[in-house]
């Protein structure tokens, strides 16, 4: 069995200019982590206890029924680490609670690696809307990001056209379409906690309903953003993650709401793999059109305010993927460079295979693949003067490449 600390220290020596915390994060996501009973008990207490209801619910079998899963992990530099708690990992890190020190400890098989923390429970959890819905079912939270899922299912699953790596909404709880008044009330409540949030993030499963397709979804996002916006004067720091919409529709969204950033995810850069792994996106919009619309969005939102992400590793998954990591890296760098040239921030996120997805549970690419990818994406964007203020360590935390930007500007 591999020694995680040794491997991580070797990475730190190989890449002395990269953040050791970002390297640790990549390793933690790669190996996974489990919570000791003591840690999980500590995380049930009021300062950390998260909601029972997760708006983007994914099905996991290994979660104790009587305990609530915590928010994400925060390393000492506030780097965010998202762990699929309850997944069955082969050789995971362990997170324990040290009562004497009053700290959570990250361990591998040989001992303590560092102290870590968790995203604290936001004050609005436990509150209910005027219609009686628990606010934790309306919004999720990271350290600085308030997350809304406008439509808590994805219609691409209906015709088995879902993205092959996706396991969203496979958990049992779903509100379907959320209520705008409840969103307004939840934002209002969340803003009572001083300094807790600096970005609002809106997304949802794909809904192609309406004529032309997606018109129902576009109207829904406008309504939701307007409801959020009733809490602010003018524009507010926010991001919409949604399909690639036509220019006119996007212009309406921008002009009629306070939105500041837009993120239509390409998921896979290689055209053939996109068409295979994202059949619904191909069917309803198409690869070329998805890219064209993404570039067009820069005219509306501005350079660096349009993002797209690749689910890094899915392009190597069996049976369709690239045969070698070098081919996959080359393809991803080409995509990142193409977008950067056009003012779009292309980010990578680490693919965690999931049993409930069509690709199923299978080996991930190597750890060093993800390190090379994070380093390369960061360098490419930097060379084009791009910085991701909406998807950085603080406002997202899913992207090791943007975690590396903290020394740039």
């Amino acid at each position: 069995m591999k020694k995680k600390r040794e491997e991580w220290e070797k990475l730190c020596r190989t890449y002395p200019d990269l953040s050791p915390f970002v390297l640790l994060k990549i390793s933690m996501v790669w190996y996974g982590a489990v919570l000791t009973e003591t840690a999980l008990d500590r995380l049930q207490e009021p300062d950390y206890c998260f909601g029972k209801l997760e708006p983007f619910a994914i099905q996991f079998d290994g979660r104790p029924a009587n305990k609530v899963m915590p928010g994400g992990i925060l390393l000492r530099d506030a780097t965010y680490v998202y762990i699929n708690y309850g997944e069955t990992y082969e050789n995971p890190y362990q997170i324990d609670w040290d009562d004497e020190q009053g700290e959570f400890l990250l361990r591998d098989e040989d001992g303590i690696i560092d102290t870590v923390d968790f995203v604290p429970r936001p004050d609005f959890f436990g509150k209910i809307t005027s219609k009686g819905t628990p606010m934790e079912a309306v919004a999720d939270a990271r350290a600085q990001k308030l997350i809304f899922t406008a439509f808590q299912k994805c219609r691409l699953w209906e015709g088995k056209d879902q993205c092959h790596f996706c396991a969203f909404f496979t958990g049992r709880y779903s509100l379907g379409e959320v209520d705008c008044e409840e969103i307004y009330e939840t934002v209002r409540e969340a803003l009572k906690e001083p300094g807790r949030f600096s970005e609002i993030y809106l997304s949802g499963g794909t809904d192609f309903s309406g004529e032309p397709p997606f018109s129902v979804e576009i109207e829904r996002y406008i309504r939701v953003l307007q409801a959020v916006g009733r809490n602010f004067q003018g524009r507010f720091s926010s991001q919409l993650m949604a399909p690639a919409y036509p220019h006119q529709a996007l212009k309406r969204i921008y002009e009629e709401t306070g939105l500041t950033s837009y993120c239509p995810n390409i998921e896979v850069w290689d055209k053939h793999l996109f068409q295979t792994l994202c059949p619904g996106k191909e069917k309803w919009i198409g690869y070329e059109e998805w890219i064209r619309r993404t570039l067009d969005a820069v005219e509306i939102f501005g350079k660096g305010k349009v993002c797209t992400q690749v689910v890094a590793g899915a392009e190597l998954a069996r049976p369709y993927g690239f045969k070698t990591e070098d081919e996959a890296i080359k393809s991803n760098f080409e995509g990142c460079e193409f977008f950067a040239k056009n003012g779009v921030i292309c980010l990578s996120t680490i693919w965690r295979p999931h049993r409930a997805s069509r690709l199923g549970f299978q080996p991930m690419p190597s750890l060093s693949y993800y390190v090379r990818l994070a380093k390369g994406f960061h360098e490419i964007r930097k060379s084009y003067g791009l910085i991701s203020t909406n998807d950085d360590y603080k406002h997202c935390g899913n992207h090791p490449d943007s975690d590396l930007e903290r020394l740039d500007v």
Partner: protein, 158 residues
Amino acid sequence: MGEMWKGLELPDRWLSPLSDTNTKKYIRFPDSQTFFCPSLDSFDGRVLALALEEEHTDFGRALVAALWFDRPVQMILKTGKEIMGMEACVYRCHIAGPLFTKKLLEIRSENPDHDMASAWELRFLKNIEVKDISEVKRPDRALEPEWHLDCMKYTKNG
């Protein structure tokens, strides 16, 4: 990483000048950049904490580099003619949680229009001798404002 996580107790002699409003406080990084650091204090005699107004600044980057690469910094206090110095490690960046909220409320109690990007926790390593304090600067400004959303919220009074 693992070796330093406990930190050291802050010697008693630091507590009174830290809480004295007449004390001038500075932080000096290994590349000699020295910044005014008026928010530095210790609420429990062990942990030192400072408020960083904006992250995308020279001050913000210096703190990140010190934390990422384990580069000790110097904390300097000047009360009247007396100068005290310590070497400290930049231990943790807080963007939520009790220490973050405490520093933020301190900043806002001085001026309700002020905001803070993050709070930084430092740990004492050793006393050092500091002879002079020169070329002190204020942090530059971030390209984009770094406001929390509750500073932008709509109120009936405008």
